[in-house]
């Protein structure tokens, strides 16, 4: 079993906590109160190992941070050492994408780990009906997707209310993390095997005693 630290970032009231609750408890609360500080939840998923259909359990430690400006200073503590980050924006709020982009920048600048998996998530797609008159969509899918590709991020548009795509985010993150992790393990194994093959030759020859000035006889 692998354990990964995952952190949620994003503007306030974009639905970070709702996504987490949909994922962990498969429930949705229309009137969720805004998060104070950072909440902790954990959930496990199963990932298929590539060849023989065997499954591995992955456990996510999820830190759901508060989006309010006041708690901004807490975020570094949680995205530091994180394996994955969900940067959430609200598809009905253009500003929230800007904020999400600034989070992505901050993550790339402050976190040294190249293996950090960042996933850009547009929430509240249930409010967008392409054909309906009251389409509240403010951020186009393509706009966000191109940004995600540019920055090499995973990208999903989800709805915490209906549960659309929520499971998939974590599944794909889990798979990606598992991939890098198993590569790492394989590399470490190879190194171990390699090092055990290398013999270190220690010469145990006796020092010459012919030299009259030597102290050895």
């Amino acid at each position: 079993m692998f354990q990964f630290k995952l952190v949620l970032l994003g503007d306030s009231s974009v639905g970070k906590s709702s996504i987490v609750y949909r994922f962990v408890k498969n429930s949705f609360d229309e009137f969720r109160e805004s998060t104070i500080g950072a909440a902790f939840l954990s959930q496990t998923i199963k990932v298929k190992e590539s060849d023989d259909g065997e499954e591995t359990v992955i456990k996510f430690e999820i830190w759901d941070t508060a989006g309010q400006e006041r708690y901004k200073s807490l975020a570094p503590m949680y995205y530091r050492n994180a394996n994955a980050a969900l940067v959430v924006y609200d598809v009905t709020q253009q500003d929230s994408l800007v904020k999400a982009q600034s989070w992505v920048n901050e993550l790339k600048n402050k976190v040294g780990d190249d293996d950090l998996v960042i996933c850009l998530v547009g929430n509240k797609v249930d409010l967008c009906d392409e054909d309906a008159e009251d389409n509240k969509r403010a951020v186009g899918t393509e706009e966000a997707r191109s940004y995600a590709n540019e920055q090499n991020l995973l990208f999903y548009e989800v709805s915490a209310k209906t549960g659309l795509n929520v499971q998939q985010i974590f599944q794909s993150i889990g798979e990606k993390l598992f991939e890098t992790k198993s590569e790492e393990i394989a590399a470490a194994k190879n190194r171990q095997i390699g090092s055990s093959n290398d013999h270190v030759n220690v010469q145990l020859q006796r020092a010459s005693t012919n030299d009259p000035t030597s102290c050895c006889f």
Partner: protein, 514 residues
């Protein structure tokens, strides 16, 4: 109590002889069998002195009527009326089941539960802690008895102190008046003598003689022999330490240089220092004449200490000190304004929807505050510009500068930390000049950047504390659910939070919370 009156004493005398065992009352001639009874009869029926009980005497028990149970005069006890009487405390109708008890002190009727205390009473129901017997009483009477709830006794001594003080002060004042009169007489006399002999041949010889004669008329000198040591510093007189008389009080004192018990004071100086006294002779002509009189330090203190103090008070303050005064006034204004502004803002933040009136009011206060801070700054600058006249002023200047910079740091931080609902330019606009001044000033003391940083760190510290608390509750919950893996993770986070808090606290030092 001993029976008084001639007859009684006669009777008493007779009984001692053993011939007469019957006593006659000296008042009503009633016959009584023994002295004890006579005393009781006199006390009770003729009310000599305190009524005394005879309860201890076995004979008397028989005499008591039923209503006088145990010698208690039942007059004030309320009678029980079935169906009407209620407990005086709880108001419940009294029946056999509830218990029917009289409080023997106040006489009211109570139920059994509310009349449980006992108190020592005399036979008339008065509190008598020494001779009384125990009777049932209600809680109120129990608590109201003298000495029940006294935690020690207190004595009001303010009046005594006042009278003592006024007495002493009056004495002192009288003494001062006496000394002043003597001084006037002495100096006037000396001047008269000098004038009399002015220009005469005898001047050098007679003046001294006359003056010393005059001195002895002003006050009686103490006898030299009665003093073996100085009356002020207690040093013993010998050949080097001579006796001297104070010319005003006549006391014998030394003239030691180290203790300054007495000094020769030029009369010209004396007259100048006490120019409010009614000297009749003019002073000018004495400038050249170097005549001095000897005064002890006590007299000098009594005469001139208060005078000097009053004189200095009347003089205008030095520029430095007047500036100090204005600074302290401004600081008082600033403190008051910050407090009231803070109150208004707090109310606003609670009520969420600020009234227009409140907003106006707070803007006004803000403007006033900024003006006050600016003028404070102006004054401090002026103070640092004044050239100190002496060491003391230099010290004052330095400490004022330090105190004022600390003060302004604190207040400006407070001002900045006030929550502002309305955008800052609204209240800054009319005071732009002052604001510029203020920011200049801040640059001198504590850069804005630094202030901002401190504020940021404070906020972060607060958030961290909040979060640490949250994590702690999460840990508690996890413990309840036996979720040990989570506990480990959360503990790790808590430690991280705490270490971060510590670094911030170390950085902020004293300024972590104002």
């Amino acid at each position: 109590m001993v029976a008084t009156g001639e007859q009684a004493s006669e009777d008493f005398h007779d009984s001692e002889n053993g011939e007469l065992s019957i006593f006659n009352c000296p008042v009503c001639s009633k016959e009584l069998s023994d002295l004890r009874r006579l005393n009781y009869h006199l006390d009770n029926d003729h009310s000599f002195g305190e009524p005394q009980e005879l309860a201890t005497h076995p004979v008397n028990k028989q005499v008591k009527g039923r209503h006088k149970r145990d010698g208690f005069v039942a007059g004030h006890l309320k009678a029980f009326e079935p169906g009407i009487s209620c407990c005086h405390e709880c108001g419940r109708l009294l029946r056999k089941g509830t218990g029917i008890v009289n409080c023997h002190k106040c006489g009211e009727l109570f139920c059994g539960a509310h009349c449980r205390n006992t108190i020592k009473l005399d036979s008339h129901g008065r509190y008598d802690p020494q001779k009384g017997r125990w009777y049932v009483c209600c809680y109120k009477c129990f608590g109201a008895r003298p000495g029940y709830n006294d935690y020690g006794s207190s004595r009001e001594l303010t009046e005594t102190l006042k009278s003592l003080r006024t007495m002493k002060n009056e004495d002192k004042q009288l003494r001062i008046i006496q000394l002043e009169n003597r001084l006037v007489r002495l100096l006037d006399g000396i001047i008269a003598i000098i004038r009399q002999y002015k220009g005469s041949l005898l001047e050098g010889f007679r003046v001294q003689k006359d003056i010393s004669k005059l001195e002895r008329t002003v006050t009686s000198w103490r006898d030299d022999n009665e003093a073996t040591h100085c009356n002020i510093c207690n040093q013993v007189f010998d050949i080097t330490l001579r006796r001297h008389h104070c010319r005003l009080c006549g006391n014998i004192v030394c003239d030691s240089r180290s203790t300054n018990c007495s000094n020769q004071v030029p009369i010209y100086n004396l007259m100048n220092a006490a120019n409010d006294l009614p000297f009749t002779e003019a002073t000018q002509e004495l400038v050249s004449d170097n005549v001095s009189i000897r005064l002890c330090s006590e007299c000098i203190h009594n005469l001139f200490f208060q005078r000097k103090f009053k004189k200095e008070v009347r003089q205008p303050l030095s520029p430095l000190l007047s500036q100090c005064e204005s600074i302290s006034n401004t600081s008082r204004v600033i403190i008051q304004l910050t407090a009231s502004l803070g109150d208004i803002e707090r109310i606003k933040s609670i009520s969420q929807a600020p009234e227009q009136f409140d907003v106006n009011e707070s803007n006004k206060l803000r403007a006033k505050l900024l003006r006050a801070v600016a003028s404070y700054h102006q004054s401090t600058k002026q103070i640092s510009m004044i050239k100190p006249k002496n060491n003391a002023e230099k010290k004052i200047q330095q400490s004022v500068r330090m105190a004022s910079s600390i003060f302004i740091d604190e207040k400006v931080l407070q001002l900045k930390s006030l929550p502002c609902i309305n955008p800052p330019q609204i209240y800054h606009a009319p005071e732009s000049q002052e604001v510029v001044k203020l920011s200049n000033f801040l640059a001198d003391n504590l850069s804005i950047k630094e202030i901002k940083e401190i504020k940021q760190f404070r906020e972060e510290l607060m958030v961290l504390k909040e979060q640490a608390f949250l994590v702690e509750t999460m840990i508690e919950n996890a413990k309840k659910q036996r979720n040990f893996e989570e506990i480990n993770i959360l503990n790790g986070n808590l430690q991280e939070l705490e270490s971060r808090m510590q670094t911030i606290q170390e950085y902020l030092g004293d300024q972590s919370f104002a």
